[in-house]
Amino acid sequence: MDIPYTSTARPDTGIYNAKVGIWLFLASEVMLFGALFSSYILLRVGALPGDWVHGLLNIPIGTFNTAVLITSSVTVVLGWASLQAGNFGRYKVYQAVTILCALGFLGIKSFEYREKFSHYEVWLKNPVTVKHGHKEVKTDRILGHIEYQGHHPYFWRTKTLADKKVEAFKIEVDPYHYSLTPKELAHARAESKGHKHEVLEIKSSDVKRLSAFTPSHGPYFAIYFTLTALHALHVLGGALVIFYIWGPGAKMWKTDPQRYMNRVEVSGLFWHFVDLVWIFLFPVLYLL
């Protein structure tokens, strides 16, 4: 006996097997990302005032990435519609765009990650005076890019200063800090547009803590990297499956076209879910 309802729908449920399977799997994914979103909310609500990072992600790049993913989402469903209309060539083109968008999304994400790994926060033992916009403030926490022996290092932490025997380093200070309100932050950014960042010389003995914007910086970046990395893994996985069906697996269009269309539909459903998750990730992590 063959397994029934792999291509055609079962009469009483009206669905074919793989569709039931993918929706069940997506339900479990809702719980997975739901748990992570719940953790985000709990960590944020429980954070001490002035400790929750915001405003440090590049919004224009994030917006562009969102558009890239939305585009891939429409090409995937247009590809399936092309198959429904019997147009295999058009399907191939649409899916190629989908895969390219996926790779683009991942590339942009990697660039964003790299940018964060060379961006630092320094907690000082004694406060210094820096400019937030035009205003002068006295603070013991500064953000900026480190310059040491002619280059900009990655992944430094407090321990690194002792390990690498750094006596002092320069830091191009950002004219703002995330403990400002969103309005103040936007103000400070606008006021300091076009001006060069001030450079401070910091002695290692003055440093209480040093951290790049890595997961270990604090709860915001911990959840940011975990959520976006898990999402990126899903983007990669989905792209690989779509690629397989598009390339090596395309033989099935000749031998069992209905089953092939089902595969395209099912992988498309997964892809839309990945887009759905990003629709929530983007405002929550970048904007709020």
Binding site: A9, A27, T63, T71, S73, A81, K183, L269, L276
Partner: protein
């Protein structure tokens, strides 16, 4: 899904394009509104999530064909949404319901 007529398919394609454009507009709106810097945190969060939910609904209903899906799928998703809500609400409440807040000493 069984084969559709060409008119059906082109109707669907038109819907997909409209949803695509709506999603792009929604994205621009979210980012634009963000620059308005409302004083109330609740309003900021509310607006951002509201737009996100609209976009998500469009993707789910039209790209994922949920609007014409079978009852079985709705049942599965219904339970999932309920349990996710339970996880979020109950965990948040347990953080908020601390003995210091309820003792009458």
């Amino acid at each position: 899904m069984s084969a559709h007529s060409p008119e059906d398919i082109s109707k669907h394609v038109r819907i997909y394009i409209i949803v695509f454009l709506a999603l792009l507009v929604g994205t621009v709106v979210t980012v634009g509104l963000n620059y308005l810097h409302f004083d109330s945190k609740a309003v900021t969060i509310g607006i951002a999530l509201f737009v996100a939910v609209i976009k998500a609904t469009l993707v789910a209903c039209y790209f994922m064909h949920l609007i014409s899906e079978k009852k079985m799928i709705y049942v599965i998703l219904g339970f999932t949404v309920f349990f996710f809500a339970a996880l979020l609400v109950l965990t948040l409440s347990s953080y908020g319901d601390l003995p210091e807040l309820t003792t009458t000493r």
